[in-house]
Structure formats: C-alpha cells, structure tokens
Symmetry: C3
C-alpha cells in the first residue's frame, strides 16, 4: 500500500517527456544556438547546415551515448516524430516573421518555465543512460556513470566537435581545466543514479528522480533570477580535493596566468581576481547544456 | 512481359561495378589525390602513409557509412580483391616509370570516359546505401537519405578529416556555407531513391537508376568540356529558398565579405563579383568526389 | 611429446599479463604522461581531466581497436579491476607525498625492468588483436594486421587526438612522414603474427611470441642504455624501398627542409645533417608507446 508521497513521486517518474518537456528542451537549446555569433547568417545562407547543427544541439547527448556504446549515431534520425518536432521549432525560431518566437522568449517567465522543463529532461536522460548502459554491462558502474553523464550533458562535446571540424571554434588549452556547471551537476546525478541502480544508495529510483529534479530546477531558476552562471560547489570541491589530493588541490577553475603570476603565493590572494575574471568569462559565454 | 525498354534498364541496373567501373572510380580519385600539393613527396618519403590516404580516397564513402551505422570502419579492408585493385592503381599512378599512367590520363577522351564511369558508381553507391539503411530502420527515411548521401559523396568528409588530423588542412569557417556540386547532386539522388524505395515516387528502381545515371554522366561530361566546376542549381535553389524560408534566403554560396561590404544592399549587385570569385576559387580547388 | 624448449615457450605464452606486466605498462605510460608539459598542473587543477587522460594513455590501444571494430569504446571501463589498478598507479604517481614513486623510477634498473615488462605486454596485445580480428573476418589478413597494430601501438593516436581536441597539440604536416620506432616494430610484429595465424609462416605461435618478445625487450633495453630513441631500420627500409618503389624511395624520415634546400642533390650528402637533427628532435620528444 503506497503512501500518497510514493504515489506522487511514482506518477512524476512516469511522466512522458514527449511532447511538452521535449519542446522546452529544443526551444532552450535552439535559442542558445541562435545567440551564437553568425548562426542567423548561416541559417539564411545554408539552411541545411543550420538544420544539421540544430539537430546536434537537440540530440547531441544521445548521439554521444550511441558513439560510446557503438550504436548507430544516426539512430536519432529514425525517430521521425521527434525530428519533425525539433525541425519545426528550429524553423519557427530562425524564420518566423517578425521574430515572434524570440520576442516571446525574451520574457523572463517564459525563459524560466522553459529552462525548468529542460532541467526535468536532464534527469530523464541520465536515468535512461544509466539503465541502458546497465543492459550492456551488468556490473559496469563506471560505464553506467559515463553513459548517464554523456546523455545528460554530452551534447556540448558533440556541438563543440562540429564547430572544431567547421573551423569556427578553436579549443583553448585551459578550457578543459574548467568543468561547466551543467557538466558537474550531471556527473553528480549520474553517480547517484548509478549507485541507486546498484543498490548502494538506499532510496527508490522515483524518489531520487523527484529530489534530483527539484534540486536541478531550483538551482537553475535561482541562477537565472540572480544572473549567475553557476552555483558554487567550491567549498565541497575544495574539501573533497584536500581529502583526496592533499593541500595542492584546486578543483575550482583558476586562470592559469594568475597562478603563474602569483609565483607560488597562496591561492587565497589570487582568488578574488580569478573569481571576478571567471564571472566575466562566464557571462560572455553562456552555453546552455 | 517486359518491354525492351524495361529489359534495357533492368540489365543496366544489374551491371556489376567490378572491375571496370571500380577501376575508373579508383583512377579518378587517385589522380585527384596526386594533384594535391605534396602528395608525390609523401608517396616517396612514406609510401605507407600515401597508401593509407589513397585507401581513404577510394573507400571513404563506405567508411563514413559504416561509422554512421556503427559497423566496423575497417570492413573495407576485408574485401581483399578491391583493396588489391585500388592498391595496384595507386602504385602505378605514383611509381610508374616515366609517369606513363598520368600521361595517358592527360588525354581528354580518357578523362571523360573515366569520369563518366565514376559517376555510374555514384548511383550504385547511393542505391546500396539506401537499401542497406532500410535493413536497419524500416521506416527511417531520413536515415536512408543520410546513408545514401554518405556513401555517394561522403568520401570528402573522411579525407578532409584525415588532413585535419595530419595538420595539412585547416577548415575555413565559410567553407561549410558552400555545398559542393557532387554533394548537392548526391543528396538529390539520395532523396529520390529513398522516396522511390518508400513507394512515394511512382517509378521503378531500375528506371530511376538509368535516368539518374544518364543525368549524372551528361552533366559531368558537359562540365568537363565547358571547364566549369558546377552546374548551377541557383534558380531552383533560390525558388525553393524563397518558398520555404522567405526572401532572405540565399542557397547559392556568396562570399561573406561581399555581403558584409555591400552593407545590406540587395544581393543582385554583389552577385557578379561573388560569382567571379567563386569561379576562381573552384578552379583552384578541384576536388573530385 | 613436447621438448623442454617447447614447454618453455608454451609456458611463456600462457603467462598472464595481470597484474605485474600490466602494472609495468601503466607505470611507464603514466610516467611518460607526467613528463609532458603541464601534466602536473592539470592533475592539481582538474584531477578528473588528468585521470581521464591517464586512462587514455593506459588503454588507448584497446580503445582504438574497439573503434575500428565498432565495439563500444567504453568497454575498457567495464573491467573494474584493471581500471582500479591503473587509477591507483596514476594516483600515487601524481599525488604521492615527496614524489616517492618518481624518485624510485629515476633509478635506471627500475626503468629498464619496467620498460622490458611493458614490451612483453606489446606482444600480448598484438596477438590478442590479431586473434580478435580473425573472429570477425576469417580471411581478412589486412584487418588482422590493422587491429594487431592498433592494439599494440595505437594508443598514441588516441592520446594525440585527445590533445588535438583540447587544443594542447597541433599536428605538424611532416610528423606523418615519420613513423616512430614503436609503430614500425609493432607493424612488423602484427604482420608476422598475422601470417603465422594464416599458416603462411611456418612457426608455432608460442615460439614466435617468445622470439618477438626477446627481440622487443633486447632492442628496448639497448636503446635505453645507449640513449638512442630508435634502432635504425634504415638499411632494410632503403633496400625494401628501392625494390618496391625505385631509387626515389626514402623510407627513413628526412626533414623536408633539407630535401628542399639540397635542391635535388643525392640523399647521402644531406643524410648526416638530417640524422643529427632527427636525433635532437627525438631526444626532446620522448614519447613512450
């Protein structure tokens, strides 16, 4: 006999992402794509290339997960309904007369709603990835974490790679020292869901899905309202780092130049400067995962 | 009771590409590879590296199709006969005493014959790709178009990627705004054969193969005789673009600088200049797909 | 009734690589990784990124082999024991107090022992790759050579690719003219084991494994003691080159500039200069495969 709470979380975990949550995910991803320099010009000059990039933005996580598990990367193209939905949203975002969709999207409540719904899909992707990996490797908890993470936040890798191939993006060496907030939070979720799946975490899947989703949505909305691009994990990361790696450890991204310039002085003095420059960098490069 | 016409087209569709059409395809691809700067030097200094690049030129479309369908990319190496044939042609092109093969190839009738036969193989590759994709995804018409296209014209992606890895090619951002002629014509063929396969096009496969091949060969030979690198689809593209995307749409590649310089003036004034610069660029970069 | 010699080589061929030989392989690979510029800084700033790179260094050959055979590239993550072992070695190399491991590794006998044991694993990897490819393609001897080679020396491709993506490595065009010593020697081994597998070489597998391993270990130790980075195959390569490709052929890597500067004079005059500059380059870029 399930409690009302259990029934609520169970019903929540059985919600289908199609069509509304998927629409929100495509909308947010494609609005982020549209804000990239040159995206509109490409859409006018070569709609096919723009459409292809749009599909990578919408389905990138699933594509990466397929590549890692040696499944056909084109499999997402077989789901005609979702492709049609994503293509329609791409079309009306880029070609709607008078830019109506973008004007509507400029209202904060619309952005908050869409972003919140997108975060819900992140949970579903992580869970789907973990479950799918488990069907391949029964006790492969590292694989499960990797695939859950790839599905939840791997889209950026695919889109960055496409830009690298196209010559519109050149990776900076220290970009890889910084793990973005969506990346960290997805990794955390993937670890939790994997340990729940392997019965190392004493919580039911639907309850974990509920709590994790609430956490995601709450932090996302908070970040949008306060105009910060990240919730700082720095205290936890520093503590974990010191515990595992000793006092040299900095998890939080520090600009390499500052470290070099300070010439071995303690991190604390360089911290405010690095934080400020980090915040500036993050404001300028709003990538939505 | 089939008509003589049906018998003709049926017999045509059952022609085996091995060995003569395959030889033509390898010959044209490897002569194009030889014309790339530094290719001969590489062949002398590191024949293995040159041979590997040659195999990518000859089998690139199939490799890309395998990657997209999560089949072993090395599968082409299992076909010992074709590998031996392609390797022999690579060998005699690069190491034949007194460059006999290249001298023979410099005669226009030889080039026309080889190029025409190569275009025939394009049809077979598209059809093979569409059929193969259909065995994976029964109603996945987008997948079928993608795989047909990859097999027919995907080789350039593989060879460009190899050059990118080797550091001998850096993609220019606006290269992706331009779809090459072989790319466009292969996409068109892939769409037609997919719709024929899904019974949306009321024409038999062997008839479509015949007509499409005749179109390919005729346009290719015309382009070689008139020394243009493309048959202009611009009127159709512009019409299609206006219908789907409104009056902003330009399918035809325009040099980005001209668009910026003209500062919002109509495209027509910048068109002659862009066309001329396009022609110059295309003459210098003759890539054969 | 087997002779004592057969029993010896048979017992040798049945030796398990786990755990001691695997430890040696991880140790040598990760010490080479640590010597790369910036590796220690990355480990302190983003241990996760450093750990990921470490796993690519340890399992790169297997990953490449999986990619080529369309098997899940994440499969190596399912082997929890080996991952744990490699991760432990990474941890103690980068975070051991007072750098004890590195100090111990700085003794030449330790380096010789570890390098020798690592070369033993190369044989096992080649044999494993050839056998595995044969299960896919019964008579595909080219595939078998390719997979044996990928497993034995393919790790560098994976790690270079990762650095390319990260922007910490840019390929030079003429790097691909030079095949590194481990690459050449692995290709040789892969060819021999393939021909042994297809019964074209009249020697038993365990005998060939023994002789090839002795050759690898002996040449590796000789190179380390004499501080050269390669055993010169140049005489054999030149002879093979002349036989197959005529008198233009140079297999040995020559700096392109010298060839250009010497303006068509015989290779012999430029050879000492090229050799000296090669030796300088190789001393500076000690990559262990």
């Amino acid at each position: 006999m399930e409690s009302p709470w259990d029934e609520l979380t169970l019903a929540f975990s059985r919600t289908s992402m199609f069509p509304f949550f998927d629409i929100a995910h495509y909308l947010v991803s494609l609005m982020a794509m549209k804000r990239q320099p040159g995206a509109v010009t490409v859409a006018w000059k070569n709609p096919f290339s723009s459409w292809f990039t749009a599909m990578l933005h919408c389905f990138g996580g699933g594509i990466l997960s397929c590549i890692l598990l040696a499944e056909p990367p084109v499999r997402f193209l077989a789901n005609n309904t979702n492709i049609l939905l994503a293509s329609s949203i791409w079309y009306i975002i880029f070609f709607c007369p008078c830019d109506l969709v973008c004007q509507a999207y400029s209202f904060l409540p619309v952005q908050l709603l869409a972003a919140g719904m997108k975060e819900v899909t992140r949970t579903w992707k992580i869970v789907g990835g973990v479950t799918h990996a488990n069907s391949y490797y029964k006790n492969g908890w590292i694989v499960m974490i990797a695939i859950g993470w790839a599905r939840g936040a791997g889209g950026t890798i695919i889109t960055n790679f496409e830009q690298l191939i196209k010559g519109t993006w050149k990776p900076e060496a220290d970009e890889w020292l910084k793990m973005s907030y969506p990346s960290k939070v997805t990794l955390l979720g993937s670890v939790m869901f994997t340990f729940q799946h392997t019965k190392h975490l004493a919580i039911s899947k639907h309850n974990l899905m509920f709590f994790y989703t609430v956490f995601l949505v709450a932090t996302k909305i908070t970040m949008m309202l306060t105009e910060t691009s990240t919730v700082s994990f720095a205290p936890f990361e520093d503590a974990l780092g010191r515990m595992l790696f000793g006092c040299h450890q900095r998890f939080s991204p520090r600009v390499k130049k500052n470290e070099t310039k300070s010439n071995g002085t303690g991190s604390s003095t360089s911290k405010p400067t690095a934080d400020a420059s980090d915040k500036l960098k993050k404001k300028h490069s709003k990538k939505t995962e």
